[in-house]
């Protein structure tokens, strides 16, 4: 049978929760169209219950992920980049199908891979940079270290369908957090394919959860979820930032809005973004001071 006459197998785009690829529990979907207006895929229109499930999965994965060594997290981020490199063509095709030129799509993917590498390298370094030993004036050893915040909600921007996801995800998980990502609503295909990359990259299930769906429907549920410690989005008109913050205020959620202008620029990657999603923990312990170490007891 010639390639011409062969009937192509279409891909089912599903969501990614706890290392599995379920359909939305709601059974709903919406059509993703190409520039010409032709439907190229039906993706899940996730519900608040999918948000709930994703948060549960992220919480369950958090203990193990945050406990991994920085070195190990770095290895895994690097592995994601390696796997993405191998899936370049598929994701490029999806981007092109959604209206990107070949050159723009290539740049998007290359920047994404390089950004992963950038953060892979940070995994075991930001702690040294942002920790301190504090010279308290009593007989105590006192040090402050960054610790991951926990479960983070990430709202992908309505541009940069892959780079947007990775720019949010990489600093988040590099720092030991787990997350759920709401993909670019109109152009979610790259995000779903990226989930397949994650699934084959040694990333433990639940560390990253990716939902597709309507931003307007799900944002409030994410911001108001009591078990989501922080929410990050990019500056973009579609989001009601004030309302999001009001929702977050109900339980002192950490809310961040990163400048969208930086997405493609050098400033779009920084250890300070890792630090946005870190808490500082300070620990005290007494120091014995006895004869021989300079004093008498």
């Amino acid at each position: 049978m010639s390639e011409q006459s062969r009937l192509e197998i279409w891909k089912t785009y599903k969501i990614y929760i706890g290392g599995q690829f379920p359909r939305t529990e709601s059974g709903r979907s919406y059509a993703v169209k190409n520039a010409a207006g032709k439907t190229i895929a039906n993706v899940c229109q996730s519900s608040r219950k999918d948000v709930r499930d994703a948060v549960s999965a992220a919480r369950a994965a958090w203990g193990g992920w945050s406990n991994r060594s920085g070195f190990n997290r770095g290895q895994i981020l690097y592995r994601i980049a390696e796997m993405l490199e191998g899936r370049k063509k598929q994701i490029k095709d999806e981007l092109i199908a959604q209206g990107y030129t070949s050159a723009v799509a290539t740049r998007e993917i290359n920047l994404s891979i390089d950004r992963l590498i950038y953060y892979a390298g940070w995994c075991d370094k930001y702690q040294s940079l942002f920790s301190s030993v504090n010279p308290v004036a009593s007989a105590h050893y006192n040090f402050s270290v960054p610790e991951p915040m926990g479960v983070v909600g990430l709202l992908a921007p309505q541009k940069a369908p892959l780079l947007g996801v990775i720019s949010l995800m990489a600093p988040c998980i590099a720092g030991g957090n787990t997350c759920l990502i709401l993909a670019n609503q109109e152009q979610p295909l790259a995000a779903v394919s990226f989930a397949e990359v994650l699934n084959s990259s040694d990333v433990p299930g639940g560390v990253v959860n990716i939902l597709t769906g309507y931003q307007e429907e799900l944002t409030d549920w994410i911001c108001a979820h009591l078990d989501v410690n922080a929410v990050v989005c990019y500056e973009q008109g579609e989001l009601d930032w004030q309302k999001m913050q009001e929702k977050g205020a109900s339980h002192v959620k950490r809310m961040f809005r990163w400048p969208a202008t930086q997405l493609y620029a050098q400033g779009g990657q920084s250890p300070y973004l890792i630090m946005d999603l870190q808490e500082i923990k300070t620990t005290w312990h007494p120091v014995q001071t006895i004869a021989g170490s300079g004093g008498a007891y």
Binding site: A137, S144, E147, G150, V252, I280, T283, W284
Partner: protein, 482 residues
């Protein structure tokens, strides 16, 4: 413990005279003492005697506007323009004058807030002065604090402080704000404004340019006006989680930066291999320091079951030696509850605890006839499900729970919306590192409790707030990085 003959300490009251409290205090705006637009004043009461100490100006919207305006002007006109080194020298001056006027400040703090003179003299005032001294040195070294970034001031900082450590919290707020080049409008808690107003005198004495620091007094409404003001770049609040949430909501959608230091329900965990007698002391210090009016108080005690009996016995004996009474007496361990309202809150929690079936124990000490006092007390037979184990009481009331394994106690300690502080007592180093890592709280005291230092960042996880005060990390909330 058996009693034979008593040796009681004679009264050793500190003189009130050094306090030199004025009959009336105005608002400190633009370097001058200004009458409130409303012309109205409220009284500040000594909670130990219920006597009026002074009357204090109530700032309304016009006054808030005036204060913010003067802070903005001072920022543009003076503070932005002087060199960081000069800025630092002003802050050093403040620290030195605070040290010189330490006794006055200590006596005032004790009379105004009810805390024992030993604490205001040995902790609040020196620590506050040290905080200024610490941040003064940062003013011209900010380039070293943020690698690869340029730090610049935000502009005008609006700050709201609580009543439990009035002067110290003012220092925690003002010192880093000034060091990073911001100007300040600060509102102290209405029951304890006096030392903050004396700090304004000190700032005046230090010759700071007018408007760099403005102190406006008033109730919660004044603070709300401050948080809503459009020309403020930064809000820093220390107080209840309830009000913190309101402020976070108020600021939603605005460009204002925010730090919140809110409530807590600190877990203090005692393992069977702990240094028991020092742990008892740590628990006592953890819950009865400052009458328990401490957001990081170790109010949830977790004792490993194998030592619970002896530990509780020792605690009860130790509580019996705490001296409750006149805060000005140098021997007083537990002074007055800050206000009638707070006393009522504490008493209602004691009632709730009893109703929930927990066993109540309190010291049998006599209480002064006048003033707001509360005996140090503890509840045993408490479960996670009891309200007294979940909610912040903010008084000298300890809840004691028991546990069996490391995993269990970690889970229980984290089983709270708060995450400010925790204590871990064990002889095993590897356990300390494990527990202190897995407890979701901003400050962990291992084999110690309730220690503070200007160099040590303080602040919470979860509903205990965000941002840090103190140390290198305490600079970040007051700068923008580029």
């Amino acid at each position: 413990m058996a009693k034979k003959k008593k040796w009681d300490y004679s009264p050793a009251p500190e003189s009130k005279q050094p306090a030199a409290i004025s009959r009336r205090y105005e608002l400190f705006i633009n370097g001058k003492w200004q009458q409130p637009t409303s012309g109205s004043y409220f009284s500040s009461i000594n909670p130990a005697t219920e006597e009026k100490l002074s009357e204090i100006a109530a700032a309304n919207e016009a006054d808030v506007n005036k204060a913010v305006q003067s802070a903005r002007l001072a920022y543009e006109k003076y503070w932005k323009k002087i060199t960081p080194a000069e800025r630092g020298k002003y802050i050093f001056r403040i620290a030195r004058i605070m040290q010189e006027r330490a006794r006055e400040l200590a006596v005032t703090e004790t009379m105004d807030g009810g805390k024992p003179i030993r604490e205001s003299r040995d902790f609040d005032i020196p620590t506050a002065a040290n905080h200024f001294f610490y941040y003064a040195g940062w003013a011209d070294k900010l380039d070293f604090a943020f690698p690869n970034k340029k730090a610049s001031a935000l502009g005008v900082a609006g700050q709201i402080t609580p009543w439990n450590f009035p002067l110290l919290m003012a220092a925690w707020k003002i010192a880093p704000a000034l060091a990073t080049g911001n100007t300040v409008v600060l509102k102290p808690a209405e029951t304890t404004s006096l030392t903050t107003l004396k700090l304004a005198e000190i700032i005046q004495e230090a010759d700071l340019p007018p408007g760099v620091v403005n102190i406006i007094t008033g109730a919660g409404q004044t603070g709300a006006l401050l948080t809503k003001h459009m020309d403020i770049n930064k809000i820093a609040f220390t107080g209840s989680t309830e009000v913190g949430k309101i402020i976070q909501r108020t600021l939603a959608g605005s460009q204002k930066k925010l730090t919140l230091e809110l409530g807590g329900k600190g877990a203090n965990i005692i393992f069977e291999d702990a240094p028991i007698d020092q742990a008892v002391e740590g628990v006592i210090n953890g819950i009865f320091f400052n009458q328990g009016h401490v957001c990081c108080a170790g109010s949830r005690l977790y004792v490993q079951e194998s030592i619970a009996k002896i530990f509780i016995k020792k605690l009860k004996d130790r509580i019996g030696t705490l001296l409750v009474g006149d805060p000005l007496d140098k021997n007083t361990d537990i002074g007055a509850i800050n206000s009638a309202q707070q006393l009522k809150t504490i008493q209602s929690y004691i009632k709730i605890g009893k109703a929930e079936g927990a066993s109540f124990y309190e010291s049998d000490c006599a209480l002064p006839k006048k003033g707001y006092f509360c005996r140090p007390s503890l509840f045993t037979n408490v479960a996670q499900s009891n309200r007294i184990a979940q909610e912040e009481i903010f008084g000298p009331v300890l809840c004691i729970l028991t546990f069996r394994t490391d995993d269990e106690v970690i889970e229980k300690a984290n089983n709270s919306p708060y995450g400010l502080s925790a204590g871990v007592w064990t002889d095993k180093g590897s356990r300390i590192f494990n527990i202190s890592k897995r407890i979701r709280a901003g400050v962990i005291w291992a084999n110690s409790y309730n220690l503070f230092d200007p160099t040590s960042p303080f602040g919470g996880y979860k509903e205990s707030g965000f941002g840090r005060e103190g140390g290198l990390q305490g600079l970040q909330p007051y700068v923008q990085l580029s």
